[in-house]
């Protein structure tokens, strides 16, 4: 019988711990498939974040380092500088990357570190139970802004792709969404381009993936994906922000 689909070799057999309907799993799968397609097996070091993806080191079938909250780009910098010919990627959530780790991501980007960062923007702190994230939308409810994010009190959401695209160091900056098969396919292409940039040592590469957190958004899977397609994409438009 012909095999039409199988799990990527770049994923281990450990079952994901993610909630039903969570898009972290899709993001993992895409990264793993791209690495496999590029023949990177046995040539990769990944860096896991602090956040719901903290156990990413159990799932990616490659050497992994678990970083402190927000520090993944610095850890990845240290790895890549001593292993310049390996693929090095960091996988981070929005609290990790755009709040506590803002300095690390901006400076890894501006130095043009030849690493790839996968940024899961689900507009919430998932792991700690639904607090406001730097990317939480105006009006979006979280446990630390129960009436919805009020810019007067909580400030405004951060657009990471737009921000990083102003820098010289990055060679590829793109935003995709994990909402439906068409977008998932596009997101995979972005991830592939990002790793190709790394392989060619072009510069820092970054893919933001708009993601859902049905658990902490208090929505069904369908509602959550609809929220990404409508409200989130309005604030965070999809596309390639920089490619050199």
């Amino acid at each position: 019988m012909a095999v039409v689909y199988k799990k990527s070799k770049m994923l281990t057999d450990t079952p994901f711990h993610y909630c039903p309907g969570c898009t972290h799993g899709i993001a993992h799968k895409l990264v793993a498939e791209v690495l496999e397609e590029m023949g990177a097996e046995g040539n990769v070091v990944g860096v896991a974040p602090v956040g719901c993806a903290v156990f990413a080191y159990k799932y990616f079938n490659c050497d992994m380092q678990e970083a402190a909250h927000g520090r993944a780009p610095a850890v990845a910098t240290g790895i890549k500088r001593v292993l310049p010919d390996k693929f090095v990627f960091a996988y981070q959530g929005d609290g990790d990357l755009a709040s506590i780790g803002m300095a690390e991501i901006v400076h890894a980007a501006t130095r043009g570190e030849k690493i790839t960062v996968i940024f899961i923007n689900n507009a919430i702190y998932g792991m700690t139970g639904g607090q406001m994230a730097p990317t939480t939308l105006e009006g979006q409810k979280a446990t630390t802004c129960i009436y919805g994010r009020n810019p007067e009190v909580n400030g405004h959401p951060i657009k990471m792709c737009e921000l990083l695209a102003t820098l010289t160091g990055p060679s590829y900056i793109a935003r995709g969404a994990l909402t439906d098969p068409a977008n998932v396919r596009k997101a995979k292409k972005m991830i592939k381009t990002a790793f190709e940039h790394q392989a060619q040592k072009k510069g820092f590469s970054f893919v933001e993936l708009l993601s859902s957190c049905p658990t902490n958004w208090g929505m069904t899977t369908e509602q959550a994906l609809e929220y990404v397609k409508t409200d989130m994409q309005k604030l965070y438009p999809l596309g390639v922000f920089k490619e050199v």
């Binding site: 070091v45 990845a76 240290g78 690390e104």
Partner: protein, 352 residues
């Protein structure tokens, strides 16, 4: 052949010769000569250097590079070392060998930029969160800095711990003649079977991690760390005893202060006073046995602990001597440094 070198530069060169191939720093006085030196020197030997965006980033770069198997280090001074504490805690839990140099300046807060020893607690008792220690040295001369730095990566690798060299502004800035050792042959070093070289897959992949979510797992890990520190104490403890055999008063000091104390001992000996010096070279593990032995000598009447702080090492001196004899304290701080005469005067006043 001996060369005249500034402490900071001598440490940097000794690090390179001892195998350092990755340095991650951030400017802060009084250690700037170390990153400045490394910023060009490492590229001459096929290494790498990054001026990080902060000390927080620098220590996490060390984490990444050390985790990937390289001999990686960072240096800073007190406020910067405070920022590194999070990373040091993760490094200790993940058991990553590396070297951290702290050229201590006065604190708390932004403090001053003059020499101090006020980071002793931070260096020896933990500093960051959790149950951990580093192998901490308090060298007293530029040559001793070189010797300790040269072997620091071997020690770090052996125990899978960070080594901290606790210096001070004086040690960093002073110029002294030093003998530099030959380059270590890095090709002879064994592969680190735990490191993420990038070639791991399946059963063979390595994970650098400090998350141990199961209580039993974490407790077992805490015990493993404690065993490591106990073994380190058995093998690595270093202490200099100077004229203690017949001493009635024993001065205790580490680092540059120990040199001032040694001068005071010499002056007092010339005056016929029976004074000695006990100088810990490893601050963690503390040389407990040497202190206990001297404290048990009948001739010894009292100790005088002298530090550039309000009194930090004195706690270890009291513990190590079991308080068998009184322990007096003479400290200067804020960047002020005692003279040998200050110590002579204090000893003559306190000594019965």
């Amino acid at each position: 052949m001996k060369e005249l070198m500034k402490g900071n530069e001598a440490i940097a060169e000794a690090a390179v010769r001892g195998g350092c191939r990755a340095f991650f720093g951030y400017p802060i006085t009084p250690q700037n000569e170390i990153p400045e030196y490394m910023s060009w020197r490492l590229f001459e030997v096929g290494g790498t250097y990054v001026q990080a965006e902060s000390e927080v980033a620098a220590i996490n770069m060390v984490y990444g590079a050390a985790g990937a198997g390289a001999r990686a280090m960072t240096s800073s001074s007190s406020p910067g070392i405070s920022l590194k504490q999070e990373g040091i805690s993760y490094i200790c839990c993940s058991r990553l060998p590396c070297v951290i140099v702290n050229m201590v300046r006065g604190g708390p807060g932004l403090g001053g930029i003059q020499p101090a020893q006020s980071d002793y607690f931070q260096a020896t008792k933990g500093g960051g969160h959790g149950d951990y220690h580093m192998l901490v040295y308090g060298p007293a001369s530029v040559q001793e800095c070189v010797n300790i730095m040269y072997d620091a990566f071997d020690k770090a690798d052996k125990y899978r711990v960070p080594v901290m060299i606790l210096g001070d502004g004086m040690l960093g800035q002073i110029m002294e003649p030093v003998e530099l050792p030959e380059f270590k042959d890095l090709s002879k070093l064994p592969r680190k079977n735990w490191a993420t070289y990038g070639d791991g897959t399946g059963e063979k992949r390595n994970i650098i991690n400090s998350l141990l979510i199961e209580p039993d797992e974490l407790e077992a890990h805490n015990k493993l760390l404690a065993d490591t520190y106990a073994e380190m104490a058995r093998n690595e403890t270093m202490c200099e005893e100077y004229l203690c055999d017949d001493a009635e008063i024993v001065l205790t000091a580490y680092g540059t202060v120990a040199r001032i104390a040694k001068s005071a001992v010499n002056i007092l000996r010339e005056q016929g006073k029976k004074v000695g010096l006990l100088r810990p070279i490893t601050l963690y593990p503390f040389p407990n046995d040497a202190f206990r032995k001297v404290a048990e000598q009948d001739c010894v009447k009292e100790f005088v602990c002298t530090e550039l702080s309000m009194g930090q090492m004195i706690e270890d001196v009291k513990l190590a001597t079991g308080m068998l004899k009184p322990v007096h304290f003479y400290g200067r701080c804020g960047g002020n440094v005692m003279t040998p005469e200050d110590l002579v005067e204090f000893v003559l006043k306190e000594g019965k």
